[in-house]
Symmetry: C2
Subunit: 477 residues, 2 copies
């Protein structure tokens, strides 16, 4: 039915040589049949054994770094230094969960003192096999052995990863490390499954499979919402944790000093343009005051932004979508544009700052939605009322940032307002550069994510994949 597919090399603007085949049904079904037994057996393993598994994966990844890096670079077009950063982050996440399991915090049992001779324990258990659908923009950290997979393994869940087709090679290499670690430790067959598909059929089929008990997804609103609906339509609905992107509003307040403006402009320009702006936390809407201060700040921002050279985007399809969305917004009447004017000779994203005012922003739903790429929309505001209206018009967001000076008595009010809208508030800094810490909340009110109660990053991300059972014992003496 499905013939082979290839990945794309953005740097060379060519298709890579390797051909990948959609996982045949017969092979997938064999793996699915193993799931119930594998899940039952893996669930019973201690936290320490799960930690050993993560440790073994970590070691194998380190051994294979060079070959994984080769594929990463040729399948993403991202830079070597970006690879280093993402690689370190991915490995650090594995270690974080390993340490968490070794400290046995995650298997904490609460025990009340006996109440009239009854003892009660509350135990965390895995919810069952998890389907993980990785992102296009993080071939490692949000993909095959990214936060979803590692959190699910730590929670005691079997995992089925459907590789992102844009980096099928990288994904296959990483999957081989996981599978080898499993075999080396003699863990149950079926604990991990890796499947390939360049369409959406396999993901849909797996989301509907009664053996799957949860989904982790990072990607577009359209994809995430479709999975949420499928999961809800099952006979036994299952939770979907979908992280679906955001415009990450930035509030620039009036009272920034010249130094503070310079600092903010440089930070923001880099955050918008770095790696072609292909981050879910890229600042996509920036509220800047009207008047002299705002105009001077905008000049600084535009200048800093023009110094960031365009780089290839991840894939021709992503480039095409970016151009479509970029042009859609700069074509609106009342929008000015500051666009990179140099020549482009491949799928580089044409860096663009668009500028408009609140009244136009409020009327355009399309401006409230993410433009994935090196683009940000500057929205000029006259006063606090206008700024407030702009923020309130937004739907749920992953992050919101505030740049303020030394006289911003009102900053607490803006924090309160953003707290209703976002999952993370950043003061005097940019939203990109998500840290993997216990205090990180990466998620946000719908549609930024499917469930504002959970984070996709940090040890708490295990809570997405855990349920509880109380064991109540009557002590008969």
């Amino acid at each position: 039915m499905s013939s082979g597919f290839r990945t794309f090399n953005p740097t060379q603007n060519t298709w890579n040589a390797e051909e990948y085949l959609r996982t045949p049904d017969i092979q997938l079904n064999q793996q699915l049949k193993l799931l119930p037994t594998a899940q039952d057996s893996y669930r019973r393993l201690s936290g320490l054994k799960r930690a050993d598994f993560l440790h073994a994966i970590h070691r194998l990844l380190q051994k294979r770094m060079e070959i994984i890096k080769d594929f990463y670079l040729k399948e993403s077009g991202l830079s070597e230094s970006r690879f280093e950063t993402e690689w370190k982050r991915t490995l650090d996440t594995i270690i974080l969960f390993e340490q968490y399991l070794r400290s046995q915090l995650s298997f904490e049992k609460k025990e009340d003192l006996p109440v009239d001779s009854v003892q009660m324990r509350k135990v965390a258990l895995p919810i069952g096999p998890i389907l993980v659908l990785g992102s296009s923009n993080f071939p490692l950290a949000y993909s095959t052995v990214g936060g979803d997979t590692v959190a699910a393994f730590a929670a005691g869940c079997c995992v089925i990863v459907k590789a992102h087709p844009m980096h099928a090679g990288t994904s296959s290499l990483v999957a081989a490390c996981i599978e080898e670690a499993r075999t080396a430790l003699n863990l149950p067959e079926g604990l991990f499954t890796h499947v390939l598909d360049d369409g959406i059929e396999l993901a849909q089929q797996l989301c509907l499979d009664e053996r799957i008990q949860g989904v982790g997804f990072t990607g577009s609103f359209k994809g995430g919402k479709a999975l949420m609906d499928l999961a809800q339509a099952r006979k036994n609905p299952i939770p979907v944790f979908a992280e679906m992107g955001s415009v990450n509003p930035v509030l620039v307040l009036q009272d920034l000093s010249i130094d503070q403006q310079q600092h903010a402009a440089k930070k923001l320009a880099f955050s918008i343009g770095n790696d072609a702006g292909q981050f879910c936390t890229k600042p996509g809407v920036i509220f800047i005051p009207k008047g002299e201060m705002g105009s001077s700040f905008l000049t600084m921002l535009t200048k800093a932004f023009s110094e960031i050279s365009p780089v290839p985007m991840l894939h021709p399809r992503i480039h095409e979508n970016f151009e479509k969305r970029r042009i859609e917004i700069v074509s609106v009447k009342g929008v000015q544009k500051h666009t990179y004017q140099g020549a482009l000779n491949g799928i580089e994203g044409r860096s663009t700052l668009a500028e408009t005012e609140i009244s136009i922003f409020l009327q355009s739903q399309s401006m409230h939605e993410e433009v994935f790429g090196p683009f940000s929309l500057i929205v000029r505001y006259e006063n606090s009322e206008e700024l407030r209206a702009g923020i309130q018009a937004l739907s749920g967001q992953l992050t919101g940032s505030i740049f303020f000076g030394n006289h911003s008595e009102q900053v607490d009010e803006w924090i309160h307002l953003l707290a209703n809208k976002v999952g993370r508030i950043i003061l005097n800094d940019v939203p990109t550069g998500v840290r993997v810490l216990e205090t990180m909340h990466h998620g946000g009110p719908f549609p930024a994510s499917s469930d504002a109660r959970f984070t996709a990053v940090g040890p708490d991300s295990m809570l997405r994949f855990q349920k509880y059972v109380t064991i109540q014992q009557q002590n008969i003496t």
Copy 2:
């Protein structure tokens, strides 16, 4: 449109005098308009202020106990001693949350040590206004000021309660206490709303209202699933925590001594028949061995059960449903029945134990579903394989119980098996009598509840109504 409705007095088998009107749209809309401001203002109150609110509600309830009791008795037909138990439980829950808030555990902020001069805090925030739909069988503890409402208030959420129409009077009295406490403490108007409706229209309308951000429901599968579907179909889907009942399987193992059998039989008989078996945790399916031991145990159970006098059920509608379901099951070929043979002269539930074997149980989906009332289905098993098959045929359950003797080496295996199916495992005791403790998990895999990750009872039930925000601060020195 809707004319007035009345509540029913099960003890006297008559309709009560008071007439209640569906809350008019104009009045509801006025309250809904207040919600955003009320929510914003209540969210900002400290945990201590919320504790004061709960404390004030508690005091007013105590002051009004007599009149509330009058309505409770005449609207439910439940006994005075049952009132005492439920009253104490309701008040204890309020105090538990008050103490929890005073200890500020719930507003714990995790703080990492500064990482390269960045400070991070993770703060719990309310998800927003919660719609609470109370149960028919707990006019206090799972209703107007039951676990859902109190947890939502503690989490910082505004609450809209739609009273259960079967106890509209009790609910209105309790609601008046909440509203008075709010006024006395000068808390925002709109923080609490109480509405009446004897149909499903208001609940549906509120579940779809964009201002509502979550739902707490206790009731039937049909009702809970309908709300889940509505909530998911919204432009902005919201979480529904629905607790939808269960058959609460009980495993009686072969090796019980005669004394242990006597003990188990008495406990089970009471648990099935008490208050006409109208509990979500009532043991509805009991697996008993074939052979001599099982038959002797069944004789004890039947005898103990026959000593529990039938009492009126909550409402003619509930009685009618009970009779329908009861007859549906005892009419299946291969089912024997042990039915209360005395005269009944009102809406008493005809106490019934039905008996069948695994092969028939496995074929009848209807036997796997709750019969709400004084009924339990005994399923006789030949060996471990049959028992295992019986358990595996069940869908998600609130509880599972095991009665075992001193030689049950296999009990760990049964615990493991139940852990996949249930939210609470009870060893040598019955599932009724849910304790409000930190170690309590009251919930279970779908369809016992909508989300196995959350509990409806105990301080952790706040987690249903809380989201998180990280505040990240760049320390510029």
